[in-house]
C-alpha cells in the first residue's frame, strides 16, 4: 500500500488530490469519518473530482454537480433531479486504510507488493513535505531500500512519488511533544537533499 497523506490533512470536508507515479487520485473523508480514495476523474466528462465539493455527505463534481456517495455511486444529477442514476455511473475506487496517522492506498499494480503499514502504537502527524529529489535519492538518504516506509526510534517516515523529480515525505512521531523538532529535522533533510541536487 502507498502512503499518500497524513490523517490530519484529510478531515471531513477536505478534498485532497494525490498523484503517485502515473496515477491521479482524490481522497475525501465522509461524515462518518471514513476516508475514500478514487481515481481523480468524474465518469461524466472526465473533470477532476478533486476540484469538487462536499454536498449531502457526498463528493460532488464541480462541472455539473454530479454527486457520488461513499461507495462511489452517483446518487444525484442536478440537471435531472428526479432521476435515480443507474448503478453503472460510478467512480473508480481503491482500497484505503488509515494507520499510524497516515492514509494508505492500494493501487492496481500493488498486487505483487502487499506491504503492510505499521499498526502498533499511536502516531502523531508532523508534516507531508515535498522534496525536490528523486525517490532513489530519498531512499538512499533515509536508508529505505525497499517499501514505502520505515520507523527509526520514535519517527515514522513514509514516501510517495507525485512526480519523477519530487518525492513527498510523510512524517509522524510517537511522542506528540516532539512534533516541532521533528518538523525542523524534516526541513534540514529537504535543504540537504535539494542542495545535493544543485
Amino acid at each position: 500500500m502507498i502512503p499518500v497523506a497524513l490523517s490530519m490533512d484529510v478531515v471531513f470536508g477536505d478534498i485532497v488530490p494525490v498523484r503517485h507515479e502515473v496515477q491521479e487520485l482524490v481522497l475525501w473523508r465522509d461524515e462518518e469519518g471514513m476516508v475514500h480514495g478514487w481515481e481523480d476523474r468524474c465518469p461524466h466528462r472526465g473533470v477532476r473530482l478533486s476540484l469538487g465539493f462536499i454536498r449531502n455527505n457526498r463528493l460532488a463534481c464541480l462541472y455539473h454537480g454530479w454527486q457520488f456517495d461513499h461507495e462511489g455511486r452517483c446518487r444525484a444529477i442536478p440537471s435531472h433531479p428526479s432521476l435515480n442514476p443507474p448503478s453503472t455511473i460510478r467512480t473508480e475506487n481503491f482500497r484505503v486504510e488509515e494507520k499510524a496517522g497516515l492514509i494508505w492506498i492500494a493501487l492496481r499494480n500493488d498486487a505483487k507488493r502487499p506491504l503492510v503499514p505499521p499498526a502498533e502504537g499511536a502516531w502523531h502527524g508532523v508534516r507531508s513535505l515535498a522534496i525536490r529529489a528523486t525517490l532513489a535519492a530519498l531512499r538512499e538518504a533515509l536508508v529505505l531500500e525497499t517499501g514505502q516506509w520505515r520507523v527509526s526510534s520514535d519517527r515514522l517516515l513514509a514516501v510517495h512519488s507525485p512526480e519523477e523529480e519530487i518525492t513527498m515525505v510523510h512524517m509522524a512521531v510517537s511522542d506528540a511533544s516532539a512534533r516541532v523538532k521533528a518538523a525542523e529535522w524534516l526541513l534540514d533533510l529537504r535543504d540537504s537533499m535539494e542542495e545535493i541536487r544543485c
Partner: protein, 78 residues
C-alpha cells in the same frame, strides 16, 4: 419513463473511435444501443432506456469524441 428513439448523426467520423465512445457511454448511462448504420459520414443508433438517460447519451454523441465532427443530427421516436 422509457424512451425509444432513433438517433441520426451526420458529419465526419472516425468510425472506430465513435463506436468505442458510444459503446462506453451507453454502458455508463445504462441504455440499450443498437447500431443501424456506422459510416464515415453517417451514423444511426436505435436507443432505448430511461428518458433522461437516453437524453444524456444523445447529448454526449452530439458533442462526440475529439476525432469526430457532428454537423447535423436529429432524433425520431422509434
Amino acid at each position: 419513463m422509457t424512451s425509444s428513439i432513433t438517433l441520426y448523426l451526420f458529419g465526419r467520423f472516425d468510425v472506430a473511435a465513435f463506436r468505442a465512445f458510444a459503446e462506453s457511454r451507453a454502458r455508463l448511462v445504462c441504455i440499450d444501443m443498437t447500431t443501424e448504420r456506422m459510416e464515415g459520414h453517417a451514423i444511426v443508433f436505435l436507443l432505448r432506456g430511461a428518458h433522461a438517460l437516453v437524453g444524456m447519451f444523445v447529448m454526449a454523441c452530439v458533442i462526440g469524441p475529439a476525432s469526430c465532427v457532428v454537423s447535423r443530427w436529429r432524433e425520431a421516436v422509434a
